[in-house]
């Protein structure tokens, strides 16, 4: 009875009694959620274009960030390292298309998935082989200072807010790109039906390279933001795990789903950890995110904005 009260009653009373703590957690959750959306977008882009769940998305985050910081360690200024890192991700997109995707056209989704597992190991290994496994400090010039709002009752950080802003900008740009540009429309056409897209003259290879390039750039931005927070190191590749509940919730094919899903997961896990965590022994945010996503699936199996798949039998 006492336990039930601690999870069904007490947290709500605490939220009522500590509104500023609640607001702080919501704001922190929103800024984290934007970054989750960013990582999730990398998955969505590739899934939309090729029907492939890219297991290597996390490794791409690590690889991109390691390349950037590795180049900076060799004396390059940030802007030059950034250009070269983007070029590296473009090169990676070419290589993936030439040596992986081209040979797997019309293969089962599971085979494509297995190929990305292989790519994951290649990127993790290559990144560490080239740049080492040490923690690397990444300084990108964003101020990292706490500041107060609401009369000092809520504390935020300049870096987190800036990172969320950058993330949001990129997410909006991508959303517009997908909805409004010819390339975006072509990409959506490829996602709907490879054969039909080819028949109307949409170049499949170009679309694949474009989408892997965009996913690579998204990975680079995610790597920069997370890497600047905790140092660039192997654990960046595990960030992908944080995007999975976002994908479950938002749907694998929906850009708005990734955005809204990221925000819901970000806020949900922070508030849950803050108010329900103490009663449940703490460290609940990882599994809570999945539980929240699965709860949504009960009502919308295709995710919040995912396409409802209807097949005639």
């Amino acid at each position: 009875m006492e336990f039930l009260e601690s999870i069904l009653v007490t947290p709500f009373i605490e939220i009522w009694e500590s509104p500023y703590y609640f607001i702080e957690l919501v704001l922190v959750g929103l800024s984290t959620g934007v970054l989750y959306s960013l990582v999730a977008l990398g998955f969505v882009l590739i899934f939309k274009a090729s029907g492939m769940f890219n297991f290597a998305q996390g490794a791409m985050v690590l690889f991109a960030a390691l390349t950037l910081v590795g180049l900076m360690e060799h004396g390059l200024p940030l802007w030059a390292a950034l250009i070269l890192s983007v070029a590296t991700m473009v090169g990676l997109a070419f290589l993936v298309e030439r040596f992986m995707l081209r040979h797997l056209v019309n293969q089962e989704g599971l085979i494509l998935f297995m190929a990305t597992i292989g790519l994951n190991f290649i990127l993790e290994g290559t990144g560490q082989l080239m740049w080492g496994s040490d923690v690397k400090r990444l300084e990108i010039g964003i101020p990292d200072q706490p500041f107060d709002i609401l009369g000092g009752k809520v504390l935020l950080n300049t870096f987190d807010v800036t990172a969320a802003f950058i993330g949001a900008l990129l997410v909006i740009t991508l959303a517009v790109f997908f909805q409004k540009t010819p390339m975006g429309r072509a990409l959506r056409a490829v996602a709907d039906d490879h054969q039909a897209a080819l028949s109307v003259g949409i170049p499949l290879k170009t679309i694949w390279i474009a989408v892997w390039t965009i996913a690579g750039i998204v990975a680079l931005v995610a790597g920069i933001v997370w890497g600047a927070k905790s140092g660039v190191q192997f654990s960046l590749s595990l960030i992908a795990l944080k995007a999975l509940p976002v994908l479950i919730l938002g749907g694998f094919t929906s850009v708005p789903g990734a955005i809204v899903g990221g925000l819901i997961i970000g806020v949900g896990e922070k508030v849950a950890e803050g108010f329900w965590g103490p009663a449940l022994g703490g460290a609940i945010e990882n599994w809570f995110a999945y539980m929240l996503a699965l709860a949504f699936l009960v009502f919308r199996p295709q995710g919040l904005f995912g396409e409802k798949i209807i097949e005639r039998v």
Partner: protein, 439 residues
């Protein structure tokens, strides 16, 4: 023609057998040390300096001293990525190597240690888990094959509370204080909790346990919780990226660094460097010195790096975790040296090395001779006490290097040892082990 072939065949056989015999003789003068390392994966930044420390000290013994009393030290690395399943695979792969099998195992992971404890007594290979692993293995009557000197997580926790009491102005001043234990949500991270709970009851401080899930990249909600609690002190048992993020987050909530103490796995160079200036003033425990100003480092730089200090620095020489690897390798090789005094200067079996560990007595004189003067305290292991409850010290990061920030703190034996014995007795009962009589 046939005769000529016969002569050639005989000669070849003799040469072959001779070479084989020579190889066997050479092998007979080798002592094999398996190395479970993690140079890749999420915890590589911590694993690399430790592995380098082991490698360099073993190599130093061969180059400087010609091995241990003339017995060449050999070693082989096996990559665990800090994963328990890979650690067990490495154990199985390496346990039979060398002329007499593995001398001992340093698992370098509490999770792997827990898995190897039941295997140690079966394979008769001791486990040396220096400053980690199962705390109650300190009771040598129950855990005959496991050694965890110079101090355990429980001893460390008691020393940290002692430090907090001094900062507060005495044990009586701890009453009513708020202390948070921010810990990795794993067997390792939780290990200190029971002792902290006992100490909280005894001294009347309010303890809050705040776990962080692996890998610890995201801690915003935990630190908001801490901001709400407003603790007087924070003690952290972190590992890997969790440490770097925690130090940054402490700055984000303006928590004073001099009230934030990490355990000895949360106080390495890799933990503070990514946080930049924000890490200045951060404290952590340790049981050995940091830096490369000790005699053993001079020898390592001279014999292994040919006097090239820059190359040595690149290989982490003098970093906290490098020094831990060196100290650990010294404990292991001194155990072999101790065993040689009884069994002779030859390759020893795991069983004989276990005897060496149990009779290990590293005096100040030995430390001075080996180049460890001022770097680590003397220790004496006994049949009953596999830990020794060695002293702990607080070190402080000034933005460039670590330096001592307290006096040496002796753990609270009166509190910790009964807990160790109770837990060991429960383990013995559960596993039908009859404790040895050490008298």
């Amino acid at each position: 023609m046939k005769f000529r072939k016969l002569v050639l065949a005989t000669a070849a056989t003799v040469v072959g057998l001779g070479t084989f015999a020579a190889a066997e003789i050479a092998k007979a003068d080798e002592q094999f040390f398996p190395m479970l390392v993690y140079r890749t994966g999420a915890y590589a930044p911590s694993g690399i300096p430790v592995a380098n420390g082991f490698r360099d000290y073993y190599t130093l013994l061969n180059k400087r001293d010609g091995g241990i009393n003339g017995v060449t030290v050999t070693f082989e690395e096996c990559e665990t990525q800090y994963k328990t399943n890979l650690g067990v695979e490495c154990y199985e792969k390496l346990k039979g190597n060398g002329p007499t099998g593995a001398s001992l195992f340093n698992p370098y992971s509490t999770g792997i240690t827990y898995q190897l404890i039941p295997k140690a007594s079966v394979d008769k290979i001791p486990i040396l888990s220096m400053g980690y692993g199962r705390t109650s293995a300190a009771d040598g009557r129950v855990f005959e094959w496991v050694f965890n000197p110079p101090a355990t997580y429980w001893s460390q926790a008691s020393a940290v509370i002692k430090y907090f009491s001094r900062r507060a102005g005495g044990y009586d001043k701890l009453a009513g204080k708020k202390i948070v234990h921010l810990h990795h949500n794993s067997a390792y991270g939780k290990e200190a909790n029971p002792t902290l709970e006992v100490l909280a009851k005894r001294y009347g401080f309010k303890l809050t346990l705040v776990p962080v899930d692996h890998p610890g990249q995201e801690q915003a909600s935990q630190w908001r919780q801490i901001r709400r609690i407003k603790p007087d002190f924070i003690f952290m048992s972190g590992w890997g990226v969790m440490n770097q993020v925690a130090i940054k987050e402490a700055g984000n909530i303006r928590y004073p660094m001099d009230q934030f103490v990490g355990n000895w796995w949360s106080g390495s160079d890799a933990d503070v460097v990514p946080a930049g200036d924000g890490a200045k003033g951060y404290l952590s425990t340790t049981f050995h010195g940091a830096g490369s100003d000790f005699g053993v480092h001079a020898d390592i730089i001279k014999h292994i790096y040919g006097g090239d200090a820059a190359a040595a620095k690149e290989n982490k020489v003098g970093e906290v975790l490098y020094n831990r690897g060196v100290v650990n390798a010294m404990f292991a090789t001194e155990a072999v040296r101790t065993a040689q005094a009884k069994f002779g200067n030859k390759s020893l079996t795991g069983e004989q090395v276990r005897w060496g560990l149990e009779n290990l007595n590293i005096t100040q004189e030995t430390l001075d001779k080996l180049g460890f003067k001022g770097m680590v305290s003397p220790l004496k292991i006994t049949c009953e006490d596999h830990e020794t409850m060695g002293p702990v010290i607080i070190q402080k990061w000034d933005g460039a290097k670590w330096s001592y920030a307290s006096e040496w703190l002796t753990p609270m034996r009166d509190i910790v040892r009964p807990l160790v014995e109770a837990d060991a007795a429960a383990y013995a009962k559960e596993n039908n082990i009859t404790p040895r009589n050490c008298n």
